[in-house]
Symmetry: C2
Subunit: 475 residues, 2 copies
């Protein structure tokens, strides 16, 4: 995939060299020759990747990188530090300032292109999600804009695929400094078993396993929908560079060269864990916004929209299965009076307790929704008339028999409810028709003095009849 | 990116050859030697790509492809037909049965790998969205599972970048058979102007432009966030194959070889347009589910959740700007009586008309929400007490002065409303506090006989005072 790359170096021939290499591979190249110009171009032209020289007069590369990564609007842009330094300490300093990778001068073309392609691909996958999160943010679904650098990298679950004892111990000891949970395995078969059974935040794969090709394992992991999104960090020697480049093509996220520097390992693992957690959070924002579309924020019950969609599905299921379902419309008696007398805060508490009592007296596959205000609906799929009757009566008494304990009223306040119910047979019915039928019964229950269940065609239920019915039903 | 590829051919050596080529590039390979086995493996193992031989005994490749593409659960899997046939008619038949591309035997390795990589990349981008649409579907946000083959490919907006007159005319005439809207341009600079100003569904780019490199243009288009998602079909000669392969790497979606076959052109353009429209619809599903989380389904007004999130934002803005805002709580008088007397359907009509009248009497940046049942809230940012008072009174009379014309009551029914209002200064306030203050006034308005506005600290407004205030305000 083509992309816009910003090349930053204070030495013009270096800029020109990188520009030529990238242009010949059909990247769009921007350039800057100092830190200030780099920051301006990052902000104004939103490149897909920044290749950033470390040693520059004035603002150096570390400072530029830190400024990019601390800005929530820019932090998602990958930064590769380009440096003559091979000192591991500088590498770690760069990674901790948020750089996504390091390239050493003189730049190896294979490594450069593999890196650029891989980071651009990762960025584009994240971009889709970031755009969505911005929308969710503007609409108030999520509280504030997130940023990959804000993610915690602690307590990561790391799976290490390495068959050399010495290397295993070194990696394990290093990662445990971050309280990471480290699992070690020696081959691909065991790895596939482990990833099928457990969740991991990052995989570290040796490219020098004795009996098999580590790249093949990476390819299996990336071909499997379940494991595709787990980041892979490859470990190999300098002589493995062509295979490492291939691994990045396949979809591995990063690599580290032997001998493994402990701090570099920690820094690279942290970067991957942060990125994965960031991506997971962006995804969950979507799930949250979906569930918000279908639930009532005060009580957590489904809302009217959900009820209507699912009532239609349940009605057509009912037609197929030749069974019956019951629709109950439930209204809290004199709820306006509760609000007026005790205030809205207490009114809200009553609605919450009321919802919990409904839920507590129903089966897991019964559907409960708050239609708005003090009105609720319950759908009982696959029930007999007898059973629907019993459930209605049980719901009524669960409300009336125990006072509602609310703030400022430890003695509890007395609440009752009226219920209208209709049994719907397996013929064709519209959702409006069945809700209307239950509503007529609810009206009867209200008119007849409240705190009552009215069943269609039966009139107001007599609690004594109910006890008799229950006795017969159980016997 | 690695992926799982299913190779289907009735001749075992052909299968083995493709398997070896793909395995050496670290793809996970599945194989099948007849149509039935192929369909079973597609369903059971969900590959990321199918390479499908056309000529097989029993069920041929066309039939297998049609069966995959007609199954909503499988249609997203890209299919490449592999064939000895070079007859354009067969190509078109394959593309019309839903195949994403054709490869001719003997298979050119460059073309094979470029194709596989490009189609796998497209699939993975779509997969993210498909998974989310499934969630939205299960929750009832969208009605039914969608399918790329169900998208219309008609009336596509096509931009053709070609500088040869003869080719321009041929492409234009061909596409106009599908009622496509065709724009023709001759160079990259004009192309960039056009895509900045207009929307296109697909771009057709010649790789044989006289004065410039068509691939460079593709790269610009793919580096630009605005144009990145528009599919590109390259046109070139047999001798351009290496550049075409590079173009697919860059992100172009498809290509067609000269001399351009009219039916093949139509079929390939249709495929791209369908895919783009499918992707756009998957995205809009997300936007819809977000807006569902924030609006009331009956009236289209914002819901309580949105009001609460934004009231908080408006309160802190108010503190900064040192201005005042007004909160109005609005309740329809005796609404239960409307429902009982006229039925719920008429009650819903009243709620809708009521909402429209509120909206019609407010500024575009005022916030109106339905809190539930017959209760509404209005926030007026940046207002004086005088102005808030006028708005409240205007809302009251807009309801009471004109009867509500509803089904079965052409003469209209009389509706009134009670309004409680509070002016919130620039000191610190919580949303609960300000809603409570307005609610107390609403209670006063109800107690005082309804059809009234009560302003905090002022008591019930006298319409005559209002007229006087309005006179003073205007003068």
């Amino acid at each position: 995939m083509s992309a816009r790359v910003l090349v930053v170096d204070d030495i013009l021939p270096n800029v020109k060299l990188l520009e030529a290499k990238l242009t010949s591979e059909y990247y769009d190249v921007l350039t800057a020759t100092n830190g200030k110009e780099a920051l301006e171009k990052v902000a104004a032209q939103s490149p897909d990747l920044v290749l950033l020289d470390v040693m520059m007069p004035g603002m150096d590369g570390f400072e530029v990188c830190t400024k990019i990564k601390q800005n929530p609007a820019l932090a998602h842009i990958p930064v590769v530090m380009v440096t003559a330094l091979t000192d591991a300490e500088d590498k770690v300093r760069g990674l901790e300032s948020g750089a996504d990778d390091f390239l050493s001068k003189p730049i190896n073309d294979t490594a450069l292109m593999a890196r650029v392609r891989s980071l651009v691909r990762l960025k584009m996958a994240l971009d889709e999600w970031r755009v969505r999160e911005n929308t969710a943010n503007q609409l108030g679904v999520v509280e504030k804009q997130s940023n990959v650098m804000m993610e915690s990298a602690d307590n990561a679950r790391v799976l290490v695929v390495e068959d050399k004892n010495f290397e295993q111990r070194k990696i394990e000891e290093t990662l445990q400094r971050d309280q990471d949970i480290v699992t070690i395995t020696e081959n691909g078969a065991k790895t596939m078993e482990l990833v099928a059974a457990q969740e991991f935040d990052v995989l570290i794969v040796s490219l020098n396993l004795a009996g098999e090709d580590g790249l093949r394992l990476c390819s299996h992991l990336k071909s499997n929908e379940r494991t595709r999104s787990i980041p892979i960090v490859m470990i190999g020697g300098e002589e493995d560079m062509p295979r490492i480049a291939h691994g990045l093509e396949i979809g591995a996220h990063d690599y580290i060269l032997r001998p493994v520097d402990r701090n570099e390992l920690l820094a690279r693992v942290r970067t991957q864990v942060r990125r994965k957690r960031f991506q997971e959070r962006l995804r969950s924002t979507y799930e949250i916004s979906l569930s918000m579309a279908l639930t009532d924020s005060l009580t957590g019950l489904y809302n009217r929209r959900y009820l209507e969609v699912h009532l239609e599905k349940l009605l057509s299921k009912n037609q197929e299965s030749k069974k019956s379902l019951a629709v109950l419309l439930i209204d809290i008696d004199h709820f306006k009076h509760v609000n007026d007398k005790y205030g809205h805060a207490v009114g809200d508490e009553v609605l919450k307790i009321f919802s919990q009592r409904l839920l507590g007296n129903l089966r897991s596959f019964d559907l409960v929704a708050r239609l708005g205000g003090e009105e609720f609906a319950v759908i009982l799929p696959d029930v007999s008339e007898q059973r629907a009757w019993m459930v209605g009566e049980r719901l009524r008494t669960s409300i009336s028999d125990v006072p509602f304990v609310v703030t400022g009223h430890p003695e509890g306040i007395s609440i009752t409810t009226s219920i209208g119910a209709a049994l719907i047979d397996h013929n064709q019915h519209t959702k409006h028709e069945v809700l209307e039928r239950a509503d007529k019964c609810l009206y009867e229950a209200k008119k007849g003095g409240r705190n009552a269940v009215v069943f269609e065609g039966k009139g107001k239920l007599n609690p004594d009849d109910f006890k008799e019915a229950q006795r017969q039903f159980i016997s």
